[in-house]
Symmetry: C4
Subunit: 257 residues, 4 copies
């Protein structure tokens, strides 16, 4: 009976207009940002058909001309599209399962809401990949893969590191009560930073929804766990680091509730 | 008689100082931004005469060295010049027929004012192209064209997507009542994002005035409809998405008026 | 006697602590920004000794690999160093004779102060070039020159256009009473925009102090007038455009005084 | 007895919670920013194994394709990671021994606190380098070295110049009482500017903690003094220039205390 009452309360919260609106914003925002970002990756891969930057490629021989400059375009596209999609959705969206999980872990977000947001983000990722599959005909170059020559523990470390930085920035922006415009831009810069660091090693996941969408559409799940384990680990470490060491929220166990 | 009274009211509004001043700002702003952006495209095309980035070019053989880095220069020029021209005009200009149409569609702008702004923007585009034709001698490389290998429906989809994102950002900035400086910069970033996504596929139109100017001066109207249909479709979808789903303005039909 | 009284008043204003402090800020700021910018140009020219980007070079054969990416580095250096030098000096400096002249033309700055600022800026330019000559041994690659294949009237037009945009932005920022941090950043962005447009045509002058410094140290004054005429013309047109059309300050002749 | 009382006061201040928390923030922040920055340098060096940008390399023959574009990636990574790490730590951290020394020199920071911060920063640098050594297997390409063809006095001059600019910006931001978000971003931009200027000459030190970390782990201390002398000299000159000339803090000797 206690359980059923809990369930009813949860269900009432989930079905409230505010929660469904947030779910919609997460879905539309993730779909928007991934459609823009991944189509940029695909158009580039299509034109310079010899050198898809964001795709696993053995470094046989010298890189083709322009290879090194490519990452900058990908870096800027991801950062800007996250910033602009988050801004378009009103600035209070996560667009990233790792962020929602960190928020739930630190009791900033109710568990069932976090689950709902994650579902919305994953659906958004799949929807954008399916749309691109229909329009472009192929989304394989947009699948995150561990570059040859990079070991799995290195890939996980890099993904952990960049998501840790991302979630630290998200936590700071929620605490400083910045103007609505600032948070999306700061998050976009951090996403660009993550791509600058990781694009050569893993194509930069940093966001399980971004990795899951193309993987689900192409059914290419090789090493897919890396793009879930790294970001979620980084997000949890960042959340704990932030709340326990950098800006201690709890001084005694009773503060937790 | 009712019609003539309406016409007289419209005419009085159109001929008011405020409206003519806005028309002037749209004309000068669009001319300024397109002169800077297109001259950057032309100077680059002129120097590296083998590789005009913003121009349709079949991808025969490997791209010339530096080809991949070029888009970044174009990307930054368009974003910065839109931002600075809009800022110079005071921050409340559209500089883009698609934006004016979306504003008129959502009743944020009177229909005749929107028409006047669009005329000002198109005249600005033609004026800047004519100026560049006189100074540089050739503006053909600045004409937006669908890259070979890109199908028309793909081009329209990409143009729709990037203009949708642009208009969403414009709508958000009008609602958040930001400082006058922020809106031009955010719009400039979104224009840069659009170029990052679309420069490889269509040279990035995103703005019918930008596409119309060089096309009118060179009389090269191949696939020109793409650069009107895509942006206008994207702008209308964005306007409806914003007003009906993301930030509902109208809850009952009576709210429309 | 009237003249001598005027002269005495002028002299008293010029020798006031505020005026001399501004002179010092203009000198130090221009020297700082040009030392950083020009040393970046020189270090690059030194390393890749085949391809000085900022220097006149006939386009014989295909450009060397990486040639196209170079301008971005120069573009960013000039924009950032202007922004940071202006910020370091407190945000209210011009660092550019064209800006001081436009300010004097529109009666925003007393004529003798403008003259003093211009002298400070030119001295700063010469000082930084002399310092770089001593440390690096050669500053020839930093001299602004009209690229071969670019005609003089094209060079003047481009210089006029980019300085016009710069001065429009400066005028807007003085009117919007922005925070002290915003103006240097906006000016820096506009300087970057100018370099994106003009670096291929003239190496981008945009600032007579920047052009005069290396030219005076190397005594290479070929086409040097271009880098004075273009910016000053652009600045004057911008000042008049701003005050008469865009944001009319004067409605009757009596408003001038 | 006087000495022992002084020591006790110092010790009490050092062992206060506030001071230890700042020490922790300096340690974590420096480790975070250097792990991200240096791993980007290492991943790049690993992939394009022929062209480590941030490493001394004789310019034999033409540079490999893409060589010139590399610096931009390094430039952006360092700027963004400094900005985001400082922001994550709350915006009031130095992350740079030269900055702490300049703050102590101008009596903005107690001497023992400055010493403690410097120790935290150096430990952070060593920790991040050790972590990268464990994960990546080699950190030699991340060691700052004077490029061949660049003389030592040139390297010191460049390092002095860019740190001077950095410390001037830091001093201005502390005086303008900006929002907490602005300072890290401005410092990040200045760090990017420094890399744009110096990456070709010295790999850009600008921060003794950044130079010390990889050097200590690889025991490669060739010319290491350059990366201490240049930044500290630049920081001290900037501090004196700021306090004596640009924004005079002291008008008579009595103001010092």
């Amino acid at each position: 009976m206690f359980v059923s009452r809990c369930l009813r309360l949860v269900l009432r919260d989930v079905l409230s207009q505010s929660c469904l609106h947030h779910f919609l914003l997460e879905f539309v925002g993730t779909a928007l940002f991934l459609t823009a970002s991944l189509s940029a990756v695909l158009i580039k891969a299509d034109l310079g058909s010899t050198g898809p930057t964001n795709h696993s490629r053995p470094p046989e021989g010298p890189p083709p001309p322009g290879f090194v400059a490519c990452p900058l375009q990908v870096v800027l596209v991801f950062g800007l599209s996250v910033a602009m999609a988050a801004l378009s959705m009103g600035g209070a969206v996560h667009l990233n399962p790792a962020v929602s999980i960190a928020m739930a872990l630190t009791l900033r977000l109710r568990l069932w809401r976090a689950a709902l947001y994650v579902i919305g983000q994953l659906l958004g990722g799949v929807a954008s990949s399916a749309l691109l599959l229909g329009v472009m005909g192929d989304v394989a170059p947009a699948v995150n893969q561990v570059s040859s020559g990079v070991r799995l523990h290195q890939a996980v470390t890099v993904e952990t590191l960049i998501t840790l930085q991302l979630v630290l920035v998200v936590m700071v922006t929620t605490e400083l009560s910045l103007p609505e415009v600032a948070t999306p831009l700061l998050v976009g810069l951090t996403v660009s930073l993550g791509h600058l660091v990781a694009v050569g090693a893993t194509g930069c996941g940093m966001n399980p929804a971004r990795s899951f969408g193309p993987a689900a559409v192409t059914l290419d799940f090789r090493n897919h766990w890396v793009f879930w384990a790294g970001p979620i680990l980084g997000a949890c470490v960042a959340a704990l680091l932030n709340d326990l060491l950098l800006r201690p929220r709890w001084r005694c166990p009773g503060d937790w509730w």
